[in-house]
Subunit: 319 residues, 2 copies
Amino acid sequence: MRSRPVDVPALVTAARDGSARAVARLITLVENADPALREVMAALAPHTGSAWVIGLTGSPGVGKSTTTNTLVAAFRERGLRVGVLAVDPSSPFSGGALLGDRIRLLDHALDPHVYTRSMASRGHLGGLSFAAPQSLRVLDAAGCDVILVETVGVGQSEVEIAALADTTIVLLAPGMGDGIQAAKAGILEIGDVFVVNKADRDGVNTTVRDLRAMISLGERTEAGAWRPSVEKLVAERGEGRDDVVAALDKHHAWLVEHDVLRERRIARAEGEIAAIALQTLRLRMTDPRRDDNLNELAARVVAGKIDPYAAADELVEAL
Amino acid sequence: MRSRPVDVPALVTAARDGSARAVARLITLVENADPALREVMAALAPHTGSAWVIGLTGSPGVGKSTTTNTLVAAFRERGLRVGVLAVDPSSPFSGGALLGDRIRLLDHALDPHVYTRSMASRGHLGGLSFAAPQSLRVLDAAGCDVILVETVGVGQSEVEIAALADTTIVLLAPGMGDGIQAAKAGILEIGDVFVVNKADRDGVNTTVRDLRAMISLGERTEAGAWRPSVEKLVAERGEGRDDVVAALDKHHAWLVEHDVLRERRIARAEGEIAAIALQTLRLRMTDPRRDDNLNELAARVVAGKIDPYAAADELVEAL
């Protein structure tokens, strides 16, 4: 489609020198699963590993963008470089086409130390499992100290985000039937820091109390285990922001102290490597140029002559 | 966990003889990824291939359960045996624990020719890609003529359902911002029959007109291509039910006439076989008893010594 060749070394150097355009271009290569991606990832590898990845998830309407905004402001006040990756698990468009970057993070639109990117997980090869970790790698190598990954909590997206993040914030709001929501979505297990936004609304104390009760039910009791905290926030006015940031810092210190940071990152890399390897194998299996093995097996399954497990065994053997 | 051995031949025979308990037990084996599953699938294989799988998807609140109910009634009036698989992509519980089969399909609770099962896609190995097609195989072998697969349209669930179904119904309701919803979720591409439920409400004609306009924009023009139809329904009172069923029948006739039914089923079996094969390979890759290859590669990626692609190449080589 694009005939212009990608000058990977120049692009990586520019991204590391602070060019937002170069960063954007690299993430576009990620999104397009560009053939140059292998070269890009190889060039980025030595420069990765320093960013703190914070996941932020919650139901629609809890105020994820506003919360991201206020956290970005807090980290910027410390002089940190911040990346924001907003993942929309339902949109088939990239670049946040429907609502878009235009209304997102307006507060920081002109700040050269804030990189913002919206990304649709749908329609990407492998969804989040490919594009998101590689985009994090781009932002990490570009010198981001903190990367906020924001996603709406539907389907499995929040579990996928938690798997990507060093620290996961679960955002709630009063009066949204949070108790049931939390139990249903299994978010209790993924949250390191719970934030009840819109804390100026009625019912905030009930929500906080219910959450604390539910968390303590599932709490790990061994010495040194992390105890998730619950913080109140009015993101629109920045009220409670410092408490949230303090809770995040505390979690980061815990991660480092117990060597969990490294463990989580190795687990994350394992997932990433396995996903790429499986994709390679998937393409090999389904490549019509290789042979019609899969198609023949499928025809036999449809005809009831063989079951899918036996067919899969044959397929694996043939690789 | 369970020590009672599974007598697979007896269970399959009982399921084929119409035992709802045996069907339920087989689907539980599927959900638990029971070791006996290979034997089960091998025993079912010769008896599969006759069920017509109809997917039904829509946003929360459009009336999916009521619509399923009324369609089940219509198929039962024809004397057909009907299976219903309700997939909840957000619940970590199985058996529909939160709302449950108890309030679902009450109309047909005592009908021995209707099998109903709720199923959570979350927490299952591979999600829908494993449990759903195998459950369909159970229902198919148990003699269901029609199987309705119902799921709420969030994340990628409706695309996954469409991939499983011979015919896909997209359900909408007036006044829910359907236009944008449809465009956003990419449902236009997956619907074979669009049904506007709650058609006694204001705005139904606008919704139908908007939908028709959007469908015609994306319509395939070659001779013989399927033209998705838009039907109105008041599922609660059964109004419009016969038009919906007629549209479904028309689509089924089209599938058969153009040999698309077989093509779709082969494509579905290809996906199923590939998913099982990839799962086998994934387990092989991540099996800690084999060796610590993946873990070592991940540690090198985290240390920035190697990039994930190069690591994945090494992993595939080692298989």
